[in-house]
Amino acid sequence: MEEMMCYIPKTLEEALEIKSRHDVIVLAGGSDLMVSNKRTLGLAPKFDKPVMIVRNLPELRGIYINEEGECCIGAGCTSAQIAESTLCPWHLRQAASRMGAVALRNSATIAGNIANASPKGDTPGPLYMLDARVKLSSVSGSREILVSDFIVKFRTIDLRPDEMITEVIVPLSEDDFDYVFWHKVGTRKANAISKITLSQAIKFNADGTVKDYRVAATATGAKTNRSRDVESIIIGKRLSPELIEDVIKGFDDVISPRAMPEFRREATRRMIRRFLNVADTHPEGKVIDTYDGYYVVGQPEPRVL
């Protein structure tokens, strides 16, 4: 059997040190890398570079609220941890709770879900929408950039060779909005890859005009789609059927689905129209879904109702 170089640092400091000196593949949960590098049955996976396993670094496993009230999630937190944590924003918990199967959610990490820069990734939608940032650390310090800038394009991220993702910081949550929407159209009801996922949130001013509106779509293009310009169409204004159609039209121009374009475009249009129409009636409650009869088993409750 071929030999393979593998680093297993005990501390984050040690990990950053290794990263500064060696060209390594960082492996945390392994739910993507062990699959994409696997060989046939009974054979060890084949990596073209040495691997550094950071799965057990304690510095990367915590979730806390910082002094600014932002939710800070360690890069090595698993989807299961995020889905269960009441500190995490509702949209993100929804996405984490419907990612893959139980076994995958117990190993897949948020940093991995961001770093693989897949347009079908589950967490980038909510992260884009909530203006989340990634903290990138190296031996020479750290920097923070928006997740939406960090993911440059399909399978491409803005990460220097000596850097590692160490934290994900989410400044907003459902508390900042009156109504929220998260709907994943998966390949089936569980253990599913996204065919399209839409995250939305809206906040009204006391006078009934829109204070803030956000919409992000997953699996509708080469990367997660969001456009502040489109969202701004209704900000500061009172909702009307015409304005809603303008948002729909605007967002339709933002997305660029290659496969199943008719379905992805039409489902996106209908989900935006539904959310804004229902929100405009100012109903009781906080969560709006695709239709009134919708019920998904095991959906975590929003933080605040």
Partner: protein, 720 residues
């Protein structure tokens, strides 16, 4: 039912070992001094092999092809037909066709070598779909029309009825590929054994393997003994396919004079194994002025793939079932097995019947709906009854209990209220389907072809061993058969031994296929136990053997396909309720209710399990299980893109049965393993099309296609 009724569930004899993980599958076996094998396959759908460039082979490693077949040996696999080559020679007919096997002691090195083999082809234009095949795209490669096999059946006079008909409606219904997705992938090992060979395989039919591969070495099948290893699911995918695995292993063991083992990984298994036949059924149905059916004509096309193998028999069963649970005064069907450059299609739960049953059920719905009628009310007019004429001019021998089954399903599902309340296109829908499945081999096949035999052996200590070739593959048969024997002998089931068959130890009781095991082999064991019982206390150790005997008076002509195709059918009624997300087209299955007639149940829990699984598998086939073949390559090759439904995709099912003992079955049991698959897809599609108010003519229908129908589909009331 009496207190000691055999239907009362017992704990399955394999429950503990499978739950705790102590049972060994083929991948768990360690064989001494055994080599590893990997198949080298065609990467193109059609072409000529120009050159094979091998890397340097270390000592002990070898690439084996058809050229290594000894003098007198034959390069084919005997699977009903003998056209399927074990190894491609000069040309390849489909992606995944075996070209050779690379073997050696280290698995990693074997794989490294495999990756370095370069095969140069002269590529030819492939025919992939049924239409491609019929159009002889790239030139015909079977006969001059790409028709592997063909049959025609007629009852009454369709042409004359058409002349008198008020109108003739036409419609085409299509179904797609389906992958078996057994939990355990294919695997086998072949060891030299004295002057012969011993095969260990995850398989349904150990005797099939022997017969199929012996010609490679031109040896008598008895020189090969096949030991079935614990088999983690099969669904028909391990009926003939293990021959494709074991043939190269046998040749490799012969060449290397050592054992050779091979286990497929999941992607390899999905990409390179048999599938359910895609189908296309073209109906022409004559109606009188009141909208009643006076004649139904159908042309049935199955995508057979590169080799015929078992497909003619699959096509026959498809054609025999094309009139479903109905009797029309005039019926005609013509079946065509179409050659294409895709992996050869083969057995899959239902064996050709589900495709035509789906087609006729859906077509019947559409004829009703274009007249504004509830499909149930329309279908009711044509239910076949005892003594009714079948598509092969035979009669239905048994009592048909569809009315009783329908009552059960109507009550459980509240169909009548819902069908009225849920307007077409309202987003909610309920659908209903009727289906059957002819048990065991067609016609007199059990007597003429299989001649099944089974033995019981009593030991001194009072234990009784069942000796037959029937396999356990998860369906529960290795509990069913001991239960039958124990019940007759009135001994505890623990005293009955039933091991995974080894062809050197057991008589050939036929394949574990065709819903025949309980119905036919169960009866052999019931009869053997009955013969054993009076001697059980008197004699220390002895054997009793029984052989299948066909009841007199039910003629069948296999050359003309006329007569009694099946003596006992399983019957089914299934209702499905769905709700469609108006924003996304997502379908939620809200309820599933079925009733089945399987004669008398041998074990209600096992039958229940079969119903739950079969019904859900049928819904998967109609909904999420998209398997596209583009340019000869399957596009879905892993468990994350080939979408089988999960338990979250289906609510708890309402399950009921009717008691209708079968005269010639053990305790009155009939076949049921395939039956339970045959109708849920049609009920699901009926419900879905009513919910969206659109006519659906092809499956599967994943979410994106539901949206497509919502936007562009034809209205249910549109004329056909």
């Amino acid at each position: 039912m009496v207190a000691h009724d055999i239907s009362k569930a017992v704990r399955r004899l394999d429950a503990v070992s499978k739950s705790e993980g102590s049972v060994k599958y083929i991948a768990d076996y360690g064989f001494e001094d055994c080599l590893w094998g990997r198949l080298v396959r065609s990467s193109i759908p059609r072409g000529i092999i120009k050159d094979i460039k091998l890397p340097e082979m270390p000592d002990g490693y070898r690439f084996i092809t058809y050229k290594d077949i000894p003098d007198g040996g034959h390069n084919y696999l005997h699977m009903i037909a003998t056209d399927w080559k074990c190894f491609a020679e000069n040309d390849v007919r489909y992606v995944g066709e075996t070209i050779g096997i690379i073997v050696g002691p280290d698995r990693t090195i074997v794989e490294d070598l495999r990756e370095k083999i370069v095969i140069e082809y002269e590529e030819q234009e492939p025919a992939v779909s049924i239409d491609d095949g019929l159009a002889c795209k790239g030139g015909a490669f079977i006969n001059d029309d790409n028709i592997h096999c063909h049959l025609k059946l007629e009852v009454g006079n369709v042409d004359e009825a058409f002349r008198k008909a008020d109108r003739i409606v036409e419609e085409t219904i299509e179904t797609g590929f389906q992958e078996h997705v057994y939990l355990e992938t294919n695997g086998a090992c072949c060891m030299p054994d004295g002057d012969g060979y011993k095969i260990y395989a995850s398989a349904q039919c150990p005797f099939y393997i022997r017969k199929s591969i012996a010609p490679l070495l031109n040896i008598d099948p008895s020189k090969i003994s096949v030991q079935q290893t614990t088999t983690g699911g099969a669904f028909g995918g391990k009926e003939h396919f293990p021959d494709v695995v074991c043939g190269p292993l046998l040749l490799a063991a012969y060449v290397m004079k050592k054992g050779v083992k091979m286990i497929f990984d999941r992607e390899e298994d999905i990409e390179n194994s048999v599938k359910r036949h895609p189908s296309k059924t073209v109906f022409r149905t004559g109606l009188d002025k009141d909208g009643n059916i006076v004649a139904m004509d159908s042309k049935v096309y199955y995508n057979v793939g590169g080799y015929l193998s078992s497909s003619f028999v699959v096509l026959q069963r498809g054609c025999f079932h094309v009139t479903g649970c109905y009797e029309f005064p005039n019926m005609r069907t013509e079946g065509f097995g179409v050659a294409t450059n895709t992996y050869p299609s083969c057995a899959f739960r239902g064996f050709g019947a589900p495709q035509t049953l789906f087609a006729v059920e859906t077509h019947m719905c559409h004829i009703a709906e274009m007249q504004g009628l509830d499909p149930l009310e329309y279908k009711k007019r044509y239910f076949i009854k005892q003594g009714g004429t079948t598509s092969t001019n035979g009669k239905i021998v048994e009592k048909v209990m569809i009315p009783e089954m329908l009552d059960q399903v109507l009550k459980a599902s509240d169909y009548e209220r819902k069908a009225k309340e849920y307007k077409w296109g309202s987003g909610k829908g309920i659908g209903i389907s009727f289906y059957n499945h002819g048990g065991a081999f067609t016609g007199n096949g059990e007597q003429a072809i299989i001649k099944g035999r089974a033995k019981l052996h009593k030991f001194k200590d009072g234990t009784v061993e069942i000796l037959c070739s029937q396999t356990e593959m998860g369906q529960g048969f290795h509990t069913i058969l001991p239960k039958i024997a124990a019940h007759i002998l009135e001994i505890p089931i623990e005293k009955v031994i039933f091991k995974d068959p080894d062809t050197s130890r057991v008589p050939d009781s036929g394949p574990t296929a065709a819903s025949r095991s309980t119905m036919i082999v169960g009866e052999l064991v019931e009869r053997a136990a009955t013969l054993m019982k009076p001697r059980y206390d008197k004699e220390e150790e002895f054997e009793v053997e029984t052989q299948y005997e066909h009841p007199d008076g039910y003629p069948w002509d296999q050359s003309t396909f006329q007569g009694y195709a099946y003596l006992g059918y399983g019957w089914g009624v299934c209702a499905v309720e769905v709700e469609v997300d108006p924003c996304t087209g997502e379908v939620t299955t809200k309820g599933v209710w079925s009733s089945h007639d399987c004669g008398h149940l041998i074990d209600e829990m096992i039958v229940h399990g079969q119903v739950n699984g079969g019904v859900l598998q049928g819904i998967g086939w109609a909904s999420t299980e998209v398997l596209k073949n583009v340019g000869g390559h399957f596009k879905q090759t892993s468990m994350s893109d080939y979408i089988v439904p999960t338990s979250m995709d289906c609510p708890k099912q309402g399950v009921s049965f009717v008691e209708n003992p079968y005269e010639w079955g053990p305790f009155g049991a009939k076949g049921m393993g395939e039956l339970v698959f045959n109708g849920s897809g049609a009920a699901y599609i009926d419900a879905l099309s009513r919910a969206i108010g659109k006519r659906i003519t092809a499956i599967p229908v994943p979410t994106e296609d539901v949206m497509g129908y919502m936007l562009n589909g034809k209205d249910l009331k549109e004329a056909l």
